[in-house]
Amino acid sequence: MAKIVVDVMLKPEILDPQGSAVSAALPRLGFTFAKSVRQGKRFEIEVDGDPTPAQLAEVEKAAKTLLANPVIETFKVSVEK
């Protein structure tokens, strides 16, 4: 079943202490690939059948109102099969 996915990330200029903590923990475990790490949130939304454009528009609105805080975060709505 297809689902609607909303990915929320802190804006680049907003301090992300959680991402920094993960970034600092990686090399301690021998993982040296990361230049930096930012941590976000992911919402998976199930709807009946395939998402319609109207549903996607509603999700977009909900993301702006509730799921993300546009003052500090950006979001991206997508569909995953």
Partner: protein, 222 residues
């Protein structure tokens, strides 16, 4: 003079906020998050705690509680409104105040007596203080780092809307050591530390916090 104190599911400090309001000579009235009714109060306090378990973002769900519709409308009309800690987060989520409160920069939950400097005594909640006065009240939060964009910060600074700053080391990474701010009109104040826990020396580290609650009495008498 009636001061409403809102209780959301997960609010912790409503009792202390009500006690502080009564101690200051106003009459505290309990307001329930699910009732779109302000019971004729003259001012409202959104107290600290973990409303809705801080799920999603602190204050993000409480901001849509039925009582908030009335609180927001009244505050836009000039009613004094104080958000403490979680209440400050609710005010930012409701866009009554600019910016947002994010995770403390060192990720630790803080709980300590904190010195702050009052930097604006023109708001409805700070008129009992002198500008430059240093007070000690408890600070206890996990997400108390005030963040906003550069333009907002510049506006807050130039308009004198920062009502209090942390003294000494920045405890949580707040921009420009901001502990509290107000809106253009001065009736809405958000404050991260807790004045309601410092209204007498029997229960608090000092009685320094009482001034927030006597200030609003003066504001309402005016």
């Amino acid at each position: 003079m009636k001061v409403g104190v809102v209780t959301f599911p997960g609010t912790l400090d409503d009792r202390d906020a009500a006690r502080a309001a009564n101690h200051a000579g106003t009459t505290a009235v309990s307001l329930w998050h699910g009732d779109a009714d302000l019971k004729g109060v003259d001012a409202v306090i959104l107290p600290g705690g973990f409303s809705y378990g801080d799920y999603l973002r602190c204050g993000a769900i409480s901001r849509f509680a039925p009582v908030m519709e009335k609180v927001i409308a009244a505050a836009k009309g000039g009613m004094p409104l104080l958000g403490i800690c979680n209440g400050f987060q609710v005010l930012c989520e409701a866009h009554l105040l600019p910016g947002a409160l994010t995770r403390n920069h060192e990720l630790h939950f803080l709980c300590r007596d904190q010195k702050i400097e009052i930097t604006n005594n023109q708001s409805a909640w700070t008129s009992s203080y002198e500008v430059g006065q240093e007070i000690i009240i408890p600070l206890k939060n996990g997400e108390g780092s005030f963040q906003c964009d550069d333009a907002t910060l510049a506006a807050l600074e130039s308009e004198g809307r920062i009502i209090a700053r942390y003294v000494g080391e920045n405890p949580n990474g707040s921009r420009n050591k901001i502990a509290g701010i107000t809106n253009e009109r001065g009736n809405i104040v958000g404050l991260m530390p807790h004045p309601e826990h410092a209204i007498d020396t029997l229960t608090g580290p000092t009685a320094d916090g009482l001034g927030f609650f006597t200030s609003v009495l003066n504001a309402m008498v005016k």
